[in-house]
Point group: C3
Chain length 324, copies 3
C-alpha cells in the first residue's frame, strides 16, 4: 500500500519539489501526518500547521510554495484541495479491489430491466421491471431501483437507497385517505451520488427528476414530482416535500427541510436545520433555527417568545406615550 511521489505527479500533474522516489504510505491531515504521509494545505490560514507537520510531502498552492519548501518536499498545484481529491481517487484505483463490474449473483434484476454491461449491481440489490442503469454506474449493496426508474452514467448509489417508492399522495374521503396511484417514475442524471438509506419517490403523474452532478448525502427524503437542478448538494437528513423545484448549484445543510410546491432559485444556500417555508427567488444564504443555549436560559427565552407579539405592542404603546 504505497505510492511513489513521482508516480503521483506523473498521473495528476503538479510540480514536485523533492525526491520522486519517496514512497507515500498514506494520506493524512497536517496534524496527524507521519513522515510517510502525503498531506495538503488548502487554506492559507492553517499555515502554522504546515510548519509543524511531519508529512513527507505537502500539496500546496502557488502562494504557499515558499513556506512549504522551508519545511520539506511539496507538490505545487493550482487548486490544492482539488488535487488532494484526485490523489484520493488515484489511491483508491491503486489499492481497492478491482471494481466488480456486473451483477452480483444475489441481486434480483428483473428480466425487463436494462443494466449497462459496465455498471455494477451490488449484493442483494433489486432492479425492477423497466428500470435502466447507465454505464459506469455503481449500486452498492441493498439498493432498490423501482419499476421504470432511470439512473444515468457514472452514478453511485449507496447501500439502502430506495428509488421509486410511491409518492405520498391521497385524496381525503369522509375522514379516510384514498390512494392516488403514483404513475410517474424517477429519473437520475449522470454523475449523481446518493447516500445510504436515502429515498427518492416516484412522481404522481410525471417523473421526479435529479439532474446531472447532484450529490445527496444519507437519509434524505425527496418527495414526488420534485426536481433538483444540476450540481446541487444536500447534506444528511434533508427533506424536500412534493412538487418543489430546486435550482442548480444550491447547497443544503444537514436536516434542512423544504416545504412542497415551492421554487428555489439557483445558487441558494440553506443552513443546517433550517425550514424553508416559502419560495426563494434570489441567490443567497438563508437560515432559520433556534440558537442553542443553556437549558435554563432557553426556557426563560422560549417562554418569553410566546408573548413576543404582545411585547412589541407594549413597546409601541410606550413609544407613543414618550413621543410627544
Amino acid at each position: 500500500m504505497a505510492l511513489r511521489l513521482g508516480s503521483i505527479v506523473d498521473a495528476l500533474g503538479g510540480e514536485l519539489h523533492g525526491n520522486p522516489d519517496v514512497q507515500i504510505e498514506n494520506i493524512a491531515p497536517l496534524e496527524t501526518a507521519s513522515n510517510a504521509s502525503l498531506s495538503f494545505l488548502s487554506n492559507p490560514k492553517y499555515q502554522q500547521q504546515l510548519a509543524a507537520s511531519q508529512a513527507a510531502c505537502v500539496i500546496v498552492g502557488q502562494t504557499m510554495q515558499e513556506a512549504a519548501l522551508a519545511r520539506g518536499a511539496c507538490i505545487v498545484a493550482a487548486q490544492p484541495y482539488l488535487y488532494f481529491a484526485k490523489v484520493t481517487q488515484l489511491w483508491k484505483r491503486q489499492h481497492a479491489a478491482a471494481g466488480g463490474v456486473g451483477v452480483h449473483p444475489s441481486a434480483v434484476v428483473d428480466a425487463a430491466a436494462f443494466v449497462d454491461p459496465s455498471a455494477s449491481i451490488g449484493a442483494l440489490c433489486v432492479v425492477e421491471r423497466g428500470a435502466r442503469i447507465g454505464a459506469g454506474t455503481v449500486l452498492k449493496s441493498r439498493v432498490t431501483v423501482g419499476e421504470g426508474c432511470i439512473v444515468g452514467e457514472r452514478c453511485i448509489l449507496h447501500s439502502g437507497v430506495v428509488l421509486g417508492a410511491d409518492g405520498f399522495g391521497f385524496a381525503p374521503h369522509d375522514g379516510t385517505w384514498e390512494k392516488i396511484e403514483q404513475l410517474g417514475a424517477v429519473r437520475i442524471g449522470n454523475d449523481v451520488e446518493i447516500g445510504a438509506n436515502t429515498c427518492i419517490d416516484r412522481g404522481a403523474l410525471q417523473d421526479t427528476i435529479i439532474e446531472d452532478g447532484v450529490k445527496l448525502d444519507n437519509l434524505i427524503q425527496i418527495g414526488h414530482n420534485v426536481r433538483i437542478g444540476q450540481h446541487t448538494a444536500m447534506a444528511g437528513c434533508v427533506g424536500v416535500a412534493g412538487s418543489t423545484v430546486i435550482g442548480a448549484h444550491c447547497t443544503f445543510g444537514g436536516a434542512a427541510m423544504v416545504l412542497g410546491h415551492l421554487t428555489i432559485a439557483d445558487h441558494v444556500h440553506i443552513s443546517s436545520a433550517s425550514m424553508v417555508s416559502r419560495s426563494i427567488r434570489r441567490p443567497g444564504h438563508y437560515t432559520g433555527f433556534f440558537p442553542i443555549d443553556d437549558n435554563a436560559v432557553w426556557e426563560k427565552n422560549a417562554a418569553t417568545l410566546k408573548q413576543l407579539y404582545s411585547l412589541r405592542e407594549r413597546l409601541k404603546a410606550l413609544e407613543k406615550k414618550i413621543k410627544p
Copy 2:
C-alpha cells in the same frame, strides 16, 4: 397504454359530457395536459388554468361544469379530486404488471410466520417467526417484519421498512446502559401504508399499535409503545418518541417531532418541522419553527433572542417608570 373515456365512467360513475370513444393516453395536470390527456380541476381558484388547458377531458365538480363545457369535454363528479384518485387506481389496474401475489423466491419467510395467500411478499423481504401478514397486503422489496409482528389487510409496506426492531430502552447503571429487552411486538391495522425506510419499533412490554387507515411517509421513526389512531397521516421524516398516544384523523407535516409519553387528541394538525414538547388536548393547528430569513438578518435576530427574557424585563421596568 390508453383508456376510453366511456370505460372510465362505466367503471367509476360520474357524468361524461363528450365523446365516450375518445382515447386517453395519460393523466396530467391542467398546465401540461396534451390533447390526449385527462386532467382535473379540484380547486375552483385554478379556473383560469382550466380555460387554457389542452386536455382532452377535465374532471370537474358541479359548480365548474359550465366553465368546463365552454372549453371541451368534461366528467362531472361530486368530488373531483377523489374521482381523480380513483382514475389513477383504474389506470394502474389496467396498465401495471399483474400484481405478483405470493412470496418472491428471494424473500426469507420463517416457517413459523403466516402469510395470507392473497398477500404479496417482495424480493429480499424478511418475515420472521410468528409474524402475520394479512389478506391483500403488499410488501415491496427489502422489507423486514420482525418476530411476532402483525400486519393487517390491504396494507402497503414500501422498500426498506423495518417493523419490530427493538425499542430504545436502557436502564442506567454506573454510567453504562443496561438493555431492557423489548418483549412486545408491532400491530398494524388494515389499510395502512408505510413509506420507504420507515421504522416502527416493537413495544417494551406491550405492543406498538398503528390503527386502521394510518398513512406514514418515508423515513419516519415510531418509537416503542406508541399508538397512532385511525386515519392519521404523517409526512416524511417525522419522529414520534416512545409511549406517546396520538389520536385519530391527525396530520403531521414533514419532520415534525413528538416527544415521548405525550397524548395528542384527535384532529390535531402539526405543521412541518415543529417540535411537540407537551400533550395537546384540543383539536387545532399547531406550529413551532423558526422562520427562515437572510442569514445576516437571522444572525442579528438569533443573537437578540438569547436576551429576550431580559428585554422583557427592561420593557417592564420602562413601563413602570412611565406609568405614573
Copy 3:
C-alpha cells in the same frame, strides 16, 4: 411462557417477600398489570399506582418496601429499574427462540471478512471484504457492514443499518463536485447497539469511531471522521456532521443535530430537536427549539421575531430617552 418468582431471585438476587412458587405470566406496568404480572416501581412519585396495582409481585427499592408489602408480594432490590431490566433479559433468555448463532444462508459474507464463530449474521446481511465482526455480536436482518469496517463484541446492529458508506466529501471544481474518495473505515467498540436504518459513514482518511457502550437509536446519521465517546446515547433521527468529536456519557434527544468539526465535552445533554451549532466545552443541559403554539399565535410571534433586533434597538432608544 411463565417464570416462578423463586427462579427470578435465584438468578438475579434481590429479596423476595412472598410465595416463591407463584408463576409470573408477563411483565407489565403497574396500571395494566394483572394478578399474573410482575411489575416494578422505579420512581417513588408513582406510589399511588403501587397501591392500586393488581400485580402479583412488584419490584421496589428499600424505601418502598413497607408500602409494597401493604399491597402484596414484592422483590426488594437496590436499583429496581435496573433489576427490571435484568428481568426482561432473563425473560427473553427463557422464552426467545434459541439465538441463531452463525451466518444465515441468505447473507452475503465476503470470503475475506472475519466473523467470530459466536456472532450471528441475520438474513440478507452483507459483510464485505476485510470487515470483522466480534464475539457475541448480532446483526439482525438486512445489515451492511462495509469493506474494512470493524465491529466489536456483544454489539447489536438492527435491520437496515449501513456501516461504511462513503462519507460526504467533495472538492468544488468549476461549479461541479469532485469526489474525495473515502479511504478510512468505521470502528465500533464493544457493547454498542445501533438502531434500524441508522447510517455510520467511513472516514475520509482515518476511521469513524464509536466507542464502547454507545447506544444509537433508529434513523441516525453519523458523518465521516466523527468520534463518539463511551456510553453516549442518542435517540432517533439524530444527525452528526463530519469530523465532530463527542465526549463520553452524553445524551442526545431525538432529532438533535450537530454541525461538523465541533467538540462536545463529556456529560453534555442535548434536548430533542436542538441544533448544536458550536462546540460545547462544559457539561450541562442545552436546548434550542422553537416552542410550539397555536398556529395563529405562532404566526404573530414568528413575524415579530423577524424584527426582534430592531425591537431591541427601539427599546434601547426609549431607555435613553427616559434615563435622564
